[in-house]
């Protein structure tokens, strides 16, 4: 079942003539992870804002086309320090901020918050003041706060930007767990090497339009590598002048060598 559908969506930010999105169509089903890839300014963040009903409602601007959602959505933005509520003096309260705004009973709030903290391994930080956390810790708190709202559609905009390598690996595993639980995930990221193990489908955006849709194998495509959107292995393979098709991951490359 489709959780999110964008049909021929074009979007203009206020006071701009050039559209940030041009005729974008995509969908995300329950239990599916769709990744948006593209160069800076390709429109991935704008797609997320439109998918989350934040553009143009909060950003202003003009939209043409249809965005339909079957689920309540939640979004994780790339800068954690602008997402803290400013009203909580412990991590636990920060994570509970969203569920409390939804008016849930306190026992349900406690259950969801504890579960989200456990998912993100934040139990030891539960009583810490969010203002004292590092960028990576704060990003995990914001992700936990988003998960605690138990939304069916989860939107991630560069969620690993503040995380170290191990933190990012845990996040990708968590996103797979979310999909297994039936959530629809739309993800914009420049961590291309993670996508073969994370994403079910890829949408390649260029200048606000969809250039290609496919499986993560797309990241080993010659055109994607030429556009700087190949995985490290595929890019190195291509740059070395080795014959195609390019391998997507190290495992693929090893198989090719043998």
């Amino acid at each position: 079942m489709k959780s999110l559908t964008l049909e021929r969506v074009s979007f203009w930010y206020p006071a701009t003539e050039a559209p940030a999105l041009r005729d974008v169509s995509l969908d995300v089903s329950q239990g599916e992870i769709v990744a948006l890839v593209g160069a800076v300014g390709a429109g991935a963040s704008t797609v997320l804002l439109a998918a989350g009903d934040l553009a143009p409602r909060l950003t202003g601007g003009r939209i043409v086309g249809t965005v339909s959602r079957r689920e309540r959505s939640a979004i994780v933005l790339p800068t954690p320090w602008t997402q803290v509520s400013g009203l909580a003096f412990t991590v636990w309260d920060e994570v509970a901020f969203g569920p409390a705004n939804l008016g849930w009973p306190t026992h349900e709030i406690a259950r969801q918050v504890d579960r989200a903290l456990e998912h993100l391994e934040l139990g030891p930080l539960a009583t810490r003041d969010p203002a004292t956390l590092s960028g990576g810790e704060l990003q995990r708190v914001i992700i936990a706060a988003t998960l605690a709202m138990d939304s069916g559609l989860v939107l991630f905009d560069e969620p690993a930007a503040e995380l170290d390598a191990e933190g990012a690996r845990k996040l990708w595993r968590l996103i797979r767990v979310l999909a297994k639980e039936g959530k629809a995930v739309l993800l914009a990221t420049s961590a291309l090497d993670a996508l073969p193990d994370v994403a079910d489908r890829l949408v390649w955006l260029e200048d606000g339009a969809v250039r290609a849709v496919g499986t993560p194998e797309l990241l080993a495509d010659v055109a994607a590598c030429d556009a700087g959107l190949g995985t490290s292995v595929a890019t190195v393979w291509g740059a070395s002048g080795l014959p195609g098709p390019y391998p997507l991951t190290v495992a693929h490359a090893v198989r090719r060598w043998r």
């Binding site: 934040l54 939640a74 933005l77 400013g86 003096f89 309260d93 509970a96 409390a100 705004n101 939804l102």
Partner: protein
């Protein structure tokens, strides 16, 4: 008394009643009394967090008043403004925004209105911290905020522009983030830990209101 454990509505009542009384009661005695109480309250929050910010904020008003008015008028209005400034500084240093929101929600009022007020209270320390970081960043890039007047003006511009622009950008992103976390108009938020509100505090708030109204009637007679 620091006021830290008082109910948020009691803190608001005190911070509202003091300036009201300062303007209602006859000058300079009325203003002197309220200013003294307000300054004692700010001092209770510590010299650096309470008294000094209040005094330093009120001082320019005294200078401008003296330039424009005679001494008695300067004292009369200066004491009233000092009461207002000191009351706000005390409130900002004492009122925990999360407790205010919880108290407001527990009373069944709009969470967005409470958030707006709480955000105003917390804006000053947040902007101060951001300004400090910008000054440090500009220093690393060779800009000195010391020296001649020209140097200082250049430094001020290099501080003000990024401060305002980054604050506006943050407001944009924060609005998106709050919206997606359920902070929408008309939301019925669940109070997680509403602060206790004793009968004594409720009576004290009513007493402050009655005192203001009585003083107003007395002055209008």
């Amino acid at each position: 008394m620091t006021g830290r454990r008082l109910h948020p509505f009691t803190l608001l009542a005190i911070a509202g009643a003091l300036p009201a009384l300062a303007w209602i009661l006859p000058a300079p005695a009325g203003g002197a009394c309220t200013a003294a109480v307000a300054l004692v309250l700010t001092a209770s929050r510590g010299l650096r967090r309470g008294l000094w910010p209040a005094v330093l904020t009120a001082a320019p008003f005294w200078v401008f008043l003296r330039l424009l008015h005679d001494v008695p008028t300067t004292i009369a209005i200066g004491l009233r403004i000092t009461t207002m400034v000191a009351s706000f500084v005390w409130l900002a240093a004492t009122l925990a925004p999360d407790r205010l929101v919880e108290a407001t929600v527990a009373r069944g009022w709009s969470v967005t209105a409470a958030y707006l007020f709480a955000a105003t209270i917390t804006a000053v320390p947040m902007l101060r911290g951001r300004a400090r970081r910008i000054v440090e960043a500009q220093r690393c890039r060779g800009l000195s905020p010391r020296g001649s007047l020209g140097n200082r003006l250049r430094a001020l511009r290099a501080l003000a522009l990024p401060l305002v622009l980054s604050a506006l950008h943050d407001v944009d992103e924060r609005a998106l983030a709050l919206e997606t976390r359920g902070m929408v108009s008309g939301a019925r938020r669940t109070p997680l830990a509403p602060p206790p509100d004793s009968a004594v505090e409720r009576a004290a708030r009513w007493a402050l209101l009655v005192a203001c109204v009585a003083a107003l009637i007395w002055r209008l007679k």
